[in-house]
């Protein structure tokens, strides 16, 4: 039984994050304007430091489910995505009218939300990291709530239109409903096994000697089913997807990018953990049915709904739903053969999260950097920053010709999401499909491919409009330098990452994702590998890319 001190020793990254979050809160309320302006830098520095700590702490070889690698991978993944998201989100509180009021002649801390925004930003990411690191159902529940609760506040405070508050309230209530659901599931699991710790629960689940599959008691099975269904809310999967479009549309676009990525990572990390209580490799048939049904419904509903939308944020919201559907299928594919990335479904999910993350962040960042000039229904679509960010298809018309950078990022993001080689989305879908095929679910593969084709209908429409579109009215304008913050930088980094991870660097990410599921022989030898893993995920700096390419080459030599 590990002591609390042992547990804390593995939580250094989270501790750093919490300290940084508090520092952000304090800095945001500082009397000195210069210190207040430092807040986003503190947030960024905190995440970078946490990343270093995550690598330094290394893989927990004693993880009760043997998923120490996944823990480290998810932590690094969410920190990398978080850093890019910070670039997209920084500037949101600064642009608010109330911030302008607070920063008047005399600083009014009662109005300022800057500190809170970055505080909640970091807290939510900390929640994902804790989710990944959870070894106990109670811990898992608390971590998931820590992920979600800050997002409710972030939605509500970054836009002073009622629609944002409505979104926040909807998200909160439905989130609470879903939390009740998986908490019920956790309770049933506890009831069935008598434990809340992962290790003993897993040991308590019998394995059928005939089929080699898990043979959980009906109570345990119901617990797992309810947990999975509740967690569907986090990943925006059917039947818990209903909130997605409204909430995504209501939130300020940079926050939408956050919502599309961070809770999803948490949700899939939690799903992997919960399902691995039964054994990802030996899921009983009912669970496979459940996952298959959720996956097929999710991707189909997401795609057909995205198909009929005209509002870009709603399109992207349903695209986010559809992508969850693809990943659901990955969860049921099993771990495949050790040493072979193709065939390892959950590893494909881990990689797909990265590809999807960059694709979505890129698209949302471009939308966030644009402002619509017209309001189709005559209503005021401007948010607190005076920006109309409810873009329609027509707003993108000919974007490439007005801003090749934004147009290019949009193109790359769309092609990544479609799964066009050689972009990262292709690799993601390739490994996902490979896994599902290996597991023998041919029908599901066909559904997945058909859905990909449907998704091309709206992704490519956006990509095409960016180049060849002609708008009937005035298309969206690019926000001026002062108002858009570092969003364009974030967009470009997401675009480049989406491009590169499809190439050689992706090779090593895939390897890391695959190795995350393999038992760690000794922590000492695992550590340099992880350092490499981190380098691979970093795409912001050229040396890192060079290094990762070298690593990719090394991996290209097939292992017998």
């Amino acid at each position: 039984m590990p002591t609390i001190a042992d547990k804390l020793a593995g939580l250094w990254p989270e501790i750093v994050m919490l300290l940084g979050a508090v520092a952000c809160l304090a800095a945001g309320l500082s009397a000195s304007a210069r210190t207040r302006r430092l807040t986003p830098w503190i947030a960024g520095g905190t995440m970078a430091l946490a990343w270093i700590f995550a690598l330094w702490t290394g893989i927990d070889a004693d993880h009760p489910l043997g998923l120490g690698g996944v823990v480290t991978y998810v932590k690094c993944l969410v920190l990398v995505l978080g850093l890019v998201l910070l670039l997209v989100c920084a500037g949101v509180p600064e642009g608010l009218k109330q911030t302008a009021a607070a920063e008047g002649a005399r600083f009014d801390p009662g109005l300022s939300v800057r500190g809170e925004f970055y505080f909640f930003f970091l807290l939510s990411i900390t929640g994902v990291m804790l989710t990944a690191g959870a070894t106990d159902l109670v811990w898992l529940f608390l971590a998931l709530e820590l992920t979600s609760l800050p997002t409710y506040v972030m939605i509500a405070m970054t836009r002073d239109r009622t629609v944002a508050h409505e979104s926040a309230v909807k998200y909160f209530f439905l989130g609470a409903l879903s939390a009740a659901m998986f908490l019920y599931g956790f309770a049933l699991i506890y009831g069935a096994t008598g434990f809340t710790e992962f290790g003993p629960i897993r040991d308590a689940v019998a394995v059928s000697s005939e089929t080699g599959l898990s043979d959980p008691s009906p109570l345990m099975l119901m617990g797992i089913v309810l947990s999975v269904l509740g967690l569907c809310f986090k990943v925006a999967a059917v039947p818990m997807h209903v909130y997605t479009a409204d909430v995504y549309q209501g939130a300020a676009t940079p926050v939408t990018a956050f919502l599309a990525v961070v809770p999803k990572v948490a949700g899939f990390a939690a799903l992997i953990m919960v399902l691995h209580l039964l054994g990802l490799d030996r899921l009983p048939e009912p669970v496979l049915y459940l996952l298959g049904a959720i996956g097929v419904l999710t991707m189909t509903v997401g795609n057909v709904l995205a198909f009929v939308q005209t509002n870009l944020k709603r399109v992207m919201a349903y695209s986010s739903v559809a992508n969850s559907g693809y990943m659901m299928l990955g969860l049921m594919a099993g771990l495949g053969v050790p040493g072979n990335a193709l065939g390892n479904g959950p590893a494909a999910v881990l990689f797909f999260l990265l590809a999807y993350g960059f694709g979505s962040i890129g698209a949302f960042a471009v939308i966030a950097a644009l402002a619509a000039q017209r309001s189709p229904d005559g209503a005021d679509h401007t948010d607190a920053t005076g920006v109309a960010d409810d873009l329609e298809y027509d707003d993108l018309a000919g974007l490439w010709w007005r801003s090749p950078v934004l147009g290019g990022v949009m193109l790359v993001s769309m092609l990544t999401l479609v799964g066009m080689p050689p972009l990262s989305g292709f690799m993601g879908k390739f490994f996902l499909i490979g896994g599902v095929l290996n597991a023998g679910f041919y029908g599901l593969v066909i559904v997945l491919v058909i859905n990909s084709a449907i998704s091309a209908g709206y992704y490519l429409r956006i990509a095409m409009l960016t180049f060849f579109g002609e708008s009937s009215s005035a298309p969206a304008v690019i926000l001026p330098e002062g108002r858009r913050g570092p969003r364009v930088v974030g967009a470009v980094i997401a675009g480049i990452a989406g491009l590169l991870i499809g190439g050689l660097p992706g090779n090593s990410v895939v390897r890391n994702a695959r190795e995350a599921f393999e038992p760690v022989p000794a922590p000492a030898s695992a550590e340099p590998e992880t350092v490499q893993a981190a380098a691979d995920e970093s795409t912001a700096s050229a040396p890192a890319v060079a290094r990762s390419q070298a690593a990719g080459l090394a991996d290209a030599v097939p292992t017998p």
Binding site: V169, K170, F173, L174, L177, S178, M181, P218, L221, M222, V225, L226, L229, F233, V238, P239, M240, V242, Y243, A245, D246, E285, P286, V287, Y289, L290, A293, I294, T300, V301, N303, V304, L305, A306, F307, V308, I454, G457, P558, P560
Partner: protein
């Protein structure tokens, strides 16, 4: 390193010319010099290489082109070279003749608006062609094969404003696709059968099988039989043999130096090279080589009869090229690879010379191509006249010229093969070859006497006569170059253009003599993969290691050594042909006219290529078009509507689901709970109740 430089220097020149045209268009005039210089440099390197190759093999890598898999499933195709004496011979022809033609073209193309483009294509062609002959694996060979096809397409369509040139380019490309399809299938089969595309490894395997079969153990598999036939299709397409020959006459729409380089001297011999290189693969199948020989001999006669009646200056040479290529295939078909390669070399000399002198005539007459409008041009263009005479002598196979030795080697070997095997087929093929030899002499000198002898007459071509069948095809080309001369009297070419021709003429007259007595070609072929496999135990050639019927072994025909018999016979026929042509087309032209009137229908029919194009249209093109129209209709009516329906499906589905997204939190909550309930029930059902 040297081998790598041979193709890549011209490639670099092509790239440089392209870059110059983009960024420094005032330097465009250096394109010709750059191209000729690059090819010349490659020639020098080839000479150097040939000394180091000697009679051995040089294998050299450049870089790993394609590499994947590991262990038994590994596949490697390097950008790497396999150089044996056969390759050296080919390289010398390509870079040597290519260099001379580039020098000639430098003058010929002067003033053309696409000057730089022409030389960029030519340099690229040399890159592709040298890669083709130096490749050590079939995939790289195929790269070069497609590369020369591409350059040929670009060069035929060089005058892209002219619909005729564009159509010819398309025809060449499409007909070659048919051949390449077969070739590609052959490559697939080779990989499947041998597990590699490395030529040397494959040939090793083929020779082992041959030896095993000769000793009575082991058997030839169906794959072994299929591979040569598929490769053969590719070779026939590239080398314009029946039935894939029809692109070559049309290909003369390109600039004349291109006709000389690509469509006479080098590219069209790639098919001969391929068969010679892969000879052991062909020996595996008992039917492959006789098929090759038959197609070759029939094509030779067929094309010769068309050349006999054609009035198109370049057309005669184009058909004669098809005919001569037929000889080469007859050569490889009767295991006389040395004869085929020998003829390939001499043909490169005299056919390039003939095309270039024809180009000079055309150039001087502002694009006039109809030989009936010409006569007695020897006074106006004396140098061209006698240069072409040299080329004609060689083509006709007049004794002691280059064509004489090489053609007789092929025919002699064919006869000897027929005698050795008692093969009626090969007797017949030899007979066809002999008839063709006579026809060749006759039609060659028909052209020469018509154009240069007799009473002086000429009509200037003019681009305004473009509607006319032949005149004006190249009028713009000539006009652009020599506008001031266009309507003036014909004039002799400058020595900058005639210089290379003199070298070619010397080759056309003397190369055969030199190579015959030094035995250079036999040496090259015997030390290459083209050497004929003869198993000592089971030799049907009575112990002659190279299958060469010279030396100690003699095949006797009517009591005379086959080669001697053939030399005497064809000398008589060649001289007879020349004399007959002189009589009919110089001394007494009225006989020719009378005969023409008498056989008017037959001549028209032959001039129309025996309606081959029409038959081809009716048999292949039209059905394909009909099928295309049918597919188009099916696509429009059925598939499109189904696709529209399917495309609409997601939209309808979306519209159907959309009302659930009504924005009310109560209904969202309800949806979620109902969904959970439904899925929970599903799981219960899945558990089995």
């Amino acid at each position: 390193m040297t081998p790598t430089l041979i193709p890549w220097i011209p490639a670099l020149a092509a790239a440089t010319i392209g870059l110059i045209s983009l960024f420094r268009s005032e330097w465009n005039r250096f394109a010709g010099a750059l191209c000729a210089g690059a090819i010349g440099l490659s020639f020098v390197l080839t000479l150097w290489l040939s000394s180091s190759v000697g009679s051995g093999v040089v294998e050299s890598g450049f870089y790993d082109w394609i590499s994947f898999g590991s262990g038994d499933n590994a596949f490697h195709a390097g950008f790497s070279w396999f150089i044996d004496p056969l390759t050296v011979v080919m390289l010398l022809v390509i870079t040597g003749i290519g260099g001379l033609i580039a020098v000639y073209a430098h003058g010929y193309m002067k003033g053309d608006p696409g000057y730089w483009r022409f030389f960029a294509y030519v340099a690229l062609f040399i890159f592709a062609m040298t890669t083709l002959v130096m490749a050590d694996n079939l995939l790289l060979l195929f790269l070069g094969w497609e590369g020369v096809g591409l350059c040929s397409y670009l060069l035929i369509g060089y005058y892209y404003e002219k619909p005729k040139a564009v159509a010819a380019a398309k025809k060449a490309f499409i007909v070659n696709r048919v051949g390449d399809f077969g070739f590609l299938l052959g490559i697939f089969l080779c990989y499947q059968h041998y597990g590699t595309l490395q030529i040397s490894t494959m040939l090793e395997g083929a020779r082992e099988t041959l030896a095993a079969v000769a000793h009575g153990h082991g058997a030839v598999t169906a794959t072994d039989v299929w591979i040569p036939f598929l490769l053969m299709v590719g070779a026939f397409g590239k080398s314009a043999q029946l039935p894939l020959y029809m692109w070559l006459p049309d290909a003369m729409a390109g600039p004349t130096p291109v006709s000389a380089l690509v469509h006479a001297a080098t590219m069209v011999t790639a098919g001969v090279y391929l068969i010679a290189r892969c000879l052991p693969l062909f020996e595996l199948s008992p039917y492959a080589l006789p098929t090759v020989a038959t197609v070759g001999a029939v094509t030779a006669l067929f094309a010769a009869t068309i050349a006999l009646v054609s009035n198109d200056l370049k057309g005669v040479f184009a058909y004669s090229t098809v005919s001569q290529l037929g000889y080469m295939f007859l050569g490889v078909g009767c295991l006389s690879t040395d004869g085929a390669v020998f003829h390939l070399v001499t043909h490169a000399f005299f056919k390039a010379l003939l095309f270039l002198t024809a180009g000079s005539v055309m150039h001087a007459l502002a694009g006039q191509l109809n030989i009936q409008t010409m006569g007695g041009l020897r006074h106006k263009m004396p140098v061209t006249c006698w240069l072409m005479f040299a080329g004609c002598l060689a083509l006709a196979g007049v004794p002691l010229t280059a064509g004489f030795f090489s053609k007789d080697l092929i025919l002699g070997d064919a006869l000897a093969y027929a005698v050795d095997h008692g093969s009626v087929l090969f007797f017949a093929l030899t007979f066809l070859g002999v008839v063709t030899a006579f026809l060749t002499a006759f039609y060659t000198f028909r052209l020469w006497f018509t154009v240069f002898m007799g009473e002086e007459k000429f009509e200037m071509g003019d681009e305004h006569h473009a509607a006319d069948d032949h005149a004006g095809d190249h009028a713009d080309e000539a006009d652009a170059a020599h506008d001031d001369h266009a309507h003036d009297a014909p004039h002799e070419m400058p020595w900058s253009m005639n210089g290379p021709l003199v070298v070619l003429a010397a080759g056309a007259l003397l190369a055969g003599l030199v190579l015959h007595f030094t035995g250079g070609i036999e040496h090259a072929v015997q030390h290459s993969t083209a050497a004929v496999f003869v198993d000592a135990a089971h030799s049907q050639h009575a112990g002659d290691p190279a299958g060469d019927h010279g030396g100690e072994h003699h095949a006797y025909f009517l009591g005379v050594d086959a080669h001697v018999f053939m030399q005497v016979l064809s000398s008589i026929l060649a001289v007879a042909g020349v004399v007959l042509a002189a009589f009919v087309f110089w001394m007494k032209r009225e006989i020719a006219d009378k005969a023409a009137a008498r056989f008017d229908k037959l001549i028209r029919f032959a001039r129309h290529e025996y309606c081959i194009n029409e038959i081809c249209d009716a048999a292949v093109v039209l059905p394909l078009r009909r099928l295309g129209a049918l597919f188009y209709a099916v696509d429009r009516l059925i598939i499109n509507s189904v696709m529209d329906l399917m495309g609409g499906l997601p939209r309808w589905l979306g519209m159907g689901v959309r009302p659930a997204q009504n924005g009310r939190i109560q209904s969202y909550g309800l949806t979620m709970v109902l969904g959970v309930a439904l899925l929970a029930v599903l799981v219960l059902v899945a558990t089995g109740g």
